[in-house]
Each structure stands twice: as C-alpha cells, then as structure tokens.
C-alpha cells in the first residue's frame, strides 16, 4: 500500500467526519462565532497593553501581533488535521481506543480523522491579525513582500512542530493514562508563552521553550530572520529540518508507546 493510498483514505475519513459535524449547522455557526470572539478577546488583552505602553523590550505591537498570528495559524493547522490526538485521554480512560484498534487503518490515522473540527473562527482571526501586522511592517519598510512566502512556510513547519509535541505528549498517556495536566504544561502553557517574544523570559525558561519543548521554533525563532533579518534564510530551512526530526522522533515514540497500551479494566 502506497502513501497515496493512505492519503486518499485520510481524505475520505476527513470528509465523512466533516459531513457528520455539518448535520448540526446552527452549532457549527455558533461555535465559529464564539471561537473567533475568544481569539479576539485574547489578542485585545496584549494589544491594549502594548498600545498603552509601547514596545516591550524592543518588540513592537506589529511584531507581537505577528508572533500571535503565526502561533494561532500553526495551531489551527495542527488541531484541524489531527483533532483527536489532543483528546487521546478520553479514548484511554473509556476504552474507546479498543474500537479504533479493530479498524483496518493505522491507529494514528483513525485518531487524526475523528471529530474533525473546522476552525474558520481561528483561521479568520489569525489571518486578519497576520494581514494587519504584516501590512503595518511592509508600510513602514521593515519587511518586504518576500516575507509572505516565508511566513506561510513557517506556519506549516510550526504546525508540524506542534503536532509532534502534541503526539509525544499524548503518547505519554500509554503509561500514565491521565494526560490533561501534562498537556496544560507542554501544549497550553508553552503555546501561550511563545505568543510573546522570548526575550521577556529568564534564560532557564527560554531554554525550556527551545530545547525541551521546541515550541519557540514555531514563531519566535523564524521571526528573527523574517522580521529582523538576523542570521539568514538558512534559519527557516533549518527549522524545517528540525520539524521533520521532531516528527520522526514523535512518530517512533508513538509506535513504541502503542506497544505498551493496556486497555481499561472497566
């Protein structure tokens, strides 16, 4: 069976998942509007502060907006295409994973195509902030149009990095079952942290966000080149390589973890 076969199968599973969700149109629209409200409220929080006090440690409002938008879009990519990887705990505690194991598809593929949630709210909000911040920086001459393809590229590599972190965290669930608390640390807190420039944090926290949980490579590190021209374009390609390495490691860890799976006793 070729990669094309699996990709086609994934596409079919995703389509059917979306169709089942679309049976509840009112809920879909309500969910979308409310998700966008949440995102805007979150961004308002930091933009109000920066608007009042100006730049923070040399990072302008546009630059922080850029970090915020790249993180939102990368996360949207990850959560849209690997929806229930984040919700593995539910499968582990209820024994639902057993059902997936009986299917003639790889378990990860089955998990990734369950309960797909389209996220237009996040996409619109992330896109709008990205447009606004890049427009501002292009007008002031800080960046050129060349920044756009680089940005789209790092959103994809960022999505891969976030997926790898999410998958590795979920895999720990095969040993400890309850992973919500761990996810708060490795996903929620880490992602919130890197929506702001890492220069704000002490060295130990910066190292943590770059080495232990490499979430700093989603937006902050590439922005050093894209927005500030530091290092060189090799930085972006280096990050792509890093994303692939993270993906391979997390997939191997997942495979190993799966061999340690014990179903629930209930």
């Amino acid at each position: 069976m070729t990669i094309k076969y699996w990709l086609d199968l994934y596409a079919v599973l995703i389509r059917s998942s979306i169709r089942s969700r679309m049976q509840y149109k009112f809920n879909f629209i309500l969910g979308t509007v409310l998700a966008a409200t949440i995102q805007i409220a979150e961004f308002l929080m930091i933009s109000i502060v920066l608007n009042k006090f100006g730049a923070v440690k040399g990072w302008s409002l546009y630059e922080v907006g850029y970090l915020f938008a790249v993180m939102t879009l990368a996360k949207t990519l990850y959560r849209t295409f690997a929806s229930d990887v984040h919700h593995l705990e539910r499968y582990l505690t209820t024994g639902e994973l057993d059902q997936l194991l009986t299917r003639p598809v790889p378990i990860l593929l089955a998990l990734m195509s369950q309960n797909i949630r389209l996220m237009p709210g996040e996409l619109l909000q992330g896109g709008a902030i990205l447009y606004w911040s890049m427009h501002g920086m292009i007008s002031s001459g800080q960046i050129t149009w060349l920044a756009l393809p680089y940005t789209l590229f790092v959103i994809v590599t960022g999505g891969v990095i976030l997926f790898s972190i999410g998958l590795a965290t979920a895999t720990v669930g095969f040993w400890i079952t309850r992973i919500n608390e761990l996810q708060t640390l490795t996903e929620d807190a880490a992602q919130t942290a890197v929506r702001y420039p890492l220069v704000l944090y002490p060295a130990w926290l910066r190292s943590l966000l770059l080495i232990v949980i490499p979430v700093g490579f989603v937006g902050y590190v590439p922005s050093l080149f894209i927005l500030r021209g530091e290092y060189g374009s090799w930085l972006v390609y280096g990050i792509a390589l890093l994303a692939v390495i993270c993906l391979v490691i997390s997939l191997r860890f997942w495979k190993f973890g799966l061999t340690r799976y014990q179903s629930t006793g209930s």
Binding site: F26, T37, I48, V56, K57, E181, T184, A189, A193, L200
Partner: protein, 258 residues
C-alpha cells in the same frame, strides 16, 4: 445538612486526585509567571502607574491564584453532561431545587480548589516574588468576602451557561467565551483602569470587575469595604436570574436519545 453533604462529597471526590492536581498547579503557576514576566518586561524602562513593577507582580500573582476560585469552576456546573446523558431529568425530579443542588456541589469543588490550588500557588509566588501579606486582618477578611461573592457569581454564570445546553450542544463554547471575557474585562491581566475608556464602560456595566479586579484591589489595599456593595448587588441580581432560568429549564427539558 443535605446541602453540606453535597458540598463535602464534591470536596472528598477531588481529594483522590491531589497528585495530578499538584502537577496542574505547576502549569497554572507557570501561566502566572509568564504574565508576570511580561509586566516585568514592560516595566523595565517605564513606571507602571500606582502599582509599580513589584505591585503589578503582586497583582498578577493574586489574580492567577484567585482564578481557581472564580474562573476555573465546573463547565456549566456539569449540566451539559447531565443533558447529554439524560441525568438532567433525574436531577429535576429530586426534591431539591436544581440551582441549589448544582450550587452546593460546586461549593465543595471551590473549597477544594481554594485549599489545594489557590493557596499553594499563591504561597509559591510569595516565596518566588517576595510578596508580603496585608498588614490589617480586616483587609484579609474583606478579601475573603469579596472572593466568596465572586465565586458565587461565577457559580450563577455557569449555571446559566449550563442551562443553554438544553438548546445547543455547543454550550461549552460559552464557557470559554465567559473565560475569555473574564481575562479581558475582569482585570485578570490588565487592571480595569488601563483599558480604553469605551472598554472600561463595558467592563463596569458587566459583573466581570467584581470577579477579580475588586477582590484584588481590596487585597492590595487600594479599595475599601464599600466596593463589596457592588458585589452584593450582582449576587442578588444573579440569584433572581438563576431562579428564573430554572423555571424556563423545567418547561424546556428534553432528553437526547442515547
């Protein structure tokens, strides 16, 4: 006595998960630490109003610890789950008012979170950021009353959010919207007086400042007991609203097929 039993059962149930909750506390404390770092960064080369950098760290430490009393309470008081499983019909049949039933269970949860989450997180910040306690015991008393009122308001708000699950399966979004609005309007990260004036107006027209901003200002010694009157007014308003919502819920209830 029944009410106390409901609350103590919820408290006891949580005690089993103390270990996992302590790990969660680390994550929660880290969130507050991140926000404190941002204020330290902003205050690096400019004064931060009447608070100053150290004052703002104290402010963030208090709001982050208080979130476990006023913010992170059970999504919709568990009503959405009860609607999904059909348990709601049994809950409505009980000889206890639905609002009182949900509220008592939640008080047990909040008491647990106050002792095992708010206090350890704040103690950690006290050591980490060298914060000190208020000098007057009355300040602590008023803060406690303000926090109790905000916990009650939060219970009422979540009761109403839970009730919407009878109409939509997406009521959990309202929980998160409520949370996002709280972050913005309740002075969680930015003191209300620093919001743009139109947003300040919106904020003061809503109950949100009484959830975090007012208790924090009382604790830090910027406000007196008089501001508790606002909390009291909102508590009365929400009580009436919850009673009204229960009447509507009783007429609406329909159980989703399993």
């Amino acid at each position: 006595m029944l009410y106390f039993s409901l609350a103590s059962k919820a408290y006891a149930r949580n005690l089993h998960y103390r270990g996992a909750h302590m790990l969660h506390n680390v994550a929660s404390a880290l969130f507050g630490y991140l926000y404190a770092c941002i204020w330290i960064g902003i205050g690096h080369d400019r004064p931060l109003g009447e608070y100053g950098v150290h004052g703002m760290i104290g402010y963030i430490a208090f709001t982050q610890a208080s979130l476990w009393v006023t913010g992170f309470i059970t999504n919709g008081l568990g009503i959405p789950e009860a609607v999904r499983t059909g348990q709601i019909s049994l809950d409505l049949m009980r000889p206890v008012h639905l609002f009182v039933l949900c509220m008592c269970r939640e008080w047990g949860q909040i008491a647990y979170q106050f002792i095992y989450k708010s206090l350890p997180i704040y103690l950690l910040y006290m050591v980490l950021f060298r914060l000190s306690l208020p000098t007057h015991w009355t300040t602590l008393l008023y803060t406690f009353v303000a926090l109790a009122a905000s916990a009650y308001m939060s219970i009422c708000m979540n009761y109403i959010i839970g009730a919407t699950s009878l109409w939509t399966t997406e009521s959990n979004w309202l929980f998160w919207v409520n949370h996002a609005l709280m972050n913005l309007l309740a002075g969680f990260f930015i003191p209300v007086e620093w919001l743009p004036s139109w947003l300040q107006t919106v904020s003061w027209m809503s109950p949100y400042p009484y959830l975090l901003y007012v208790p924090t200002r009382i604790y830090l010694g910027y406000e007196q007991a008089g501001s508790l009157l606002g909390s009291l007014a909102w508590c009365i308003f929400f009580t009436l609203l919850c009673l009204l919502v229960t009447i509507v819920v009783r007429r609406k209830v329909e159980v989703q097929g399993g």
